[in-house]
Amino acid sequence: MEIYLDNAATTEVYPEVVALMTEIMRNDYGNPSSMHRKGVEAERYLKTAAAQIAAVLKTEEKNIYFTSGGTESNNWALKGAAFANRRAGMHIITTPIEHAAVSEPLRYLEGQGFEITKVPVDCTGTVNPEDIKNAVRGDTILVSVMAVNNEIGSVQPVAEIGHAIKEANPRTLFHVDAIQAFAKLPICPSRDKIDMLSASGHKIHGPKGSGILYIGKGVKIDPLILGGGQQKGYRSGTDNVPGAAGMALAAQMMAGRMQENRDHMMMLRERLIKNLSEMENVVIHGQTLPEGAPHIVNASFCGVRSEVLLHSLEEKEIYVSSGSACSSHKRAGSPTLTACGCSKAEMESSVRFSFCETTRPEDIDQTAEAIGELLPLLRKYSRH
């Protein structure tokens, strides 16, 4: 039976979500912007979806905007807030371990004249809120920090960072890329002083092409996509009703059993780390137990190139990731592992395992066993 341990790349869609989306696509396919009954029906799905997402974030539904996914949400938050607030300052703070959907828009903004400061992380991939606080200046308009790192699963102290930022400069906006955390870990924007938060549908058993941006009250942000004025003019384009409804249902289902999912996956994580730690020349990255996201384990199997181990496991129908799926076709070393101070040998041999609530302890044991068998053989035929 196949063992899918690449849930940080994407997840299997819940059957309930597929059923709901099928129903919407086949019967309630109206455009919420239409005046007639078909449109009103469709709009009702959107409202429900916003309410479901808002409930997960413990906020009001008017703060939820639907997007095409995490990348769009991040682009919108960063570019939209930077350009809307450029008169107040041109300084933006981030970390070196952000996903490309944050680091690339910021690189673009740098080209547009903004100044970007990257606050370093420690060897576990964690940023210190004090360091962020010290970096905030009078002209700092925005800070962007991810909630959970997608490669090594390090959890950032977003609540402390949020409070630290507001202490240093109450006008500075705080954006959190919560794509690996949403509906998996408790996050509350109003409590944690988060002004904007990005989440994605397909990481939580929802559909691809769905995402949200939470925008807090009074946050000054320009729209990224202009057109027919949907979503109060902030995000134009015909509303993706099945996508929004599907993501929201998935979020509601995940959040409803957040604690038990966390406990289950934390048990899997402990189990895998324990298994791997017994092998020779294996380095586990990220925060040590019990810290760290429950669903991600990243390890280097020194002397075996990541892709080779990945494809060897693939032959046994075990699916893992070498680096993050979005960046594995780039040759450059992972920015996250680089920032954590990993050696080149560690980076070339790093593999990510990521779980979901249906991953079974047997899956973990079988995977560890397969790796244990493969390692001696793969190390024998390694490159000179």
């Binding site: 892709e307 494809h311 035929y381 490159r383």
Partner: protein, 393 residues
């Protein structure tokens, strides 16, 4: 504004009695290329010229682009076809043509008339002179130069009148289907697609063989080769892509042979397998993208060691090319962007730090004897189990 293309071909003209075979093959390829273009076309041969006539509206850019991928075409002339309404009317049409195409640009010209319909009342020389005078009157920015003009205005008088002056350079070479088929050793790199393209340009159909080594090479690396084969087949026509699982052979070589000879011995097995497949397909030669001295396995000594296992001729069209020249061709034929995608192929995964650059054939053959008894079955399995993909770009 153009209604047709006059297709020029150079080398076919010298093929003596076989000429019609080459022309028919070229017409076949032109039809195949235009079949994918928006519009209806008829392709015909008329007194030593090939015309592609558009019936009604069509995609001009698309048609030119398609014709620019057909081997055997030296030039493509967009033609305006006119009804014969007398010399005065023809003069007006020529003037309109010049206005549209050259838009008041000063230049020298010459009218070149060809009277295929001899019943036309004015002879070629007089058409030249009279139309030339009308053009000069209407276009003061032009001047005549009969020795070395910048532009020749061609007027061909048939049942209708054909007018053209521009020639778009074609690929040259010979039409596909006139020279048999050959087997290309296709890797994911820059060189081998170019090598296949160059040999195919001489009218040769291509099949290809790719060696992959899972789990050391990925499904993506294979997909990249399929993508490359698709691009190449836009020029070379339908091809069979043979995919050989080479892992066990490679591991056996790694286990038994000196590591600095790995690449050479591996390549010798690739050539043996490629030749076997070529013979099964009825292909008459092998093609590789090798270039002298580019890497250790492509020194003259290495090439003669790999060559020694083949009885079919091995064509290496890039043998004297610099890398930069190869890159330029790959950019021109559009394989470059795909070739540089960073997936490892089986030639690089086990490469030694210091491979032999001047291998000795006797020593290599001696090393290979260590494989005897095991390798034969592995080769046989690799050939038996190989996958064949039909590629049609």
């Amino acid at each position: 504004m153009f209604h047709a293309f006059l297709i020029k071909y150079s080398e076919i003209g010298i093929k003596g009695k076989n000429r019609y075979l080459f022309e028919d093959a070229l017409i076949e390829q032109i039809k195949r290329a235009l079949a994918r273009v928006e519009g209806e076309f008829t392709v015909s041969k008329e007194s030593g010229r090939i015309f592609a006539l558009a019936q009604g509206d069509y995609d001009f850019e698309g048609a030119v682009d398609a014709l620019c991928r057909v081997f055997g075409i030296s030039g493509i002339c967009p033609v305006v076809i006119l009804d014969d309404e007398g010399l005065e009317a023809l003069g007006r049409e020529v003037n309109n043509y010049i206005t549209e195409v050259y838009q008041g640009k000063p230049m020298t010209f010459k009218i070149l008339t060809r009277r295929a319909r001899k019943s036309y009342p004015v002879n070629s020389m007089d058409v030249n002179a009279q139309i030339g005078a009308m053009v000069l009157f209407e276009h003061p920015e032009l001047s005549v130069n009969v020795v070395d003009p910048e532009v020749y205005i061609h007027i061909e008088i048939r049942n209708r009148i054909y007018l053209y002056s521009e020639e778009i350079k074609g690929l040259g070479g010979l039409p596909l289907g006139t020279g048999g088929r050959a087997m290309l050793l296709l890797s994911g790199g820059i060189d081998s697609p170019v090598a296949g393209y160059m040999i195919s340009r001489r009218g040769i159909g291509i099949d290809a063989v790719y060696f992959h080594a899972p789990p050391y090479t990925s499904e993506r690396a294979k997909q990249k080769v399929v993508d490359l084969a698709k691009i190449v087949s836009q020029y070379t026509g339908k091809m069979k892509l043979h995919v050989i699982n080479f892992t066990d052979i490679q591991l056996a070589i790694y286990d038994k042979c000196p590591h600095d000879e790995l690449t050479i011995i591996m390549r010798r097995y690739m050539m043996r397998i490629a030749e076997h497949l070529a013979k099964e397909e009825g292909d008459l030669a092998l093609i590789t993208g090798e270039s002298i001295g580019q890497v250790a396995s492509q020194t003259m000594q290495s090439l003669s060691c790999t060559n020694a296992v083949c009885s079919l001729p091995v064509f290496r069209p890039l043998i004297a090319f610099d890398k930069q020249d190869i890159v330029e061709i790959s950019q021109k034929i559009d394989t470059y962007e795909t070739s540089i995608l960073p997936f490892e192929d089986c030639c690089t995964i086990f490469v030694a730090k210091h491979p032999v650059t001047k291998p000795d054939l006797l020593r290599i053959e001696k090393s290979e004897t260590k494989l005897e008894g095991a390798i034969e079955a592995l080769v046989e399995t690799a050939i038996m189990d190989h996958e064949v993909l039909e590629i049609d770009g």
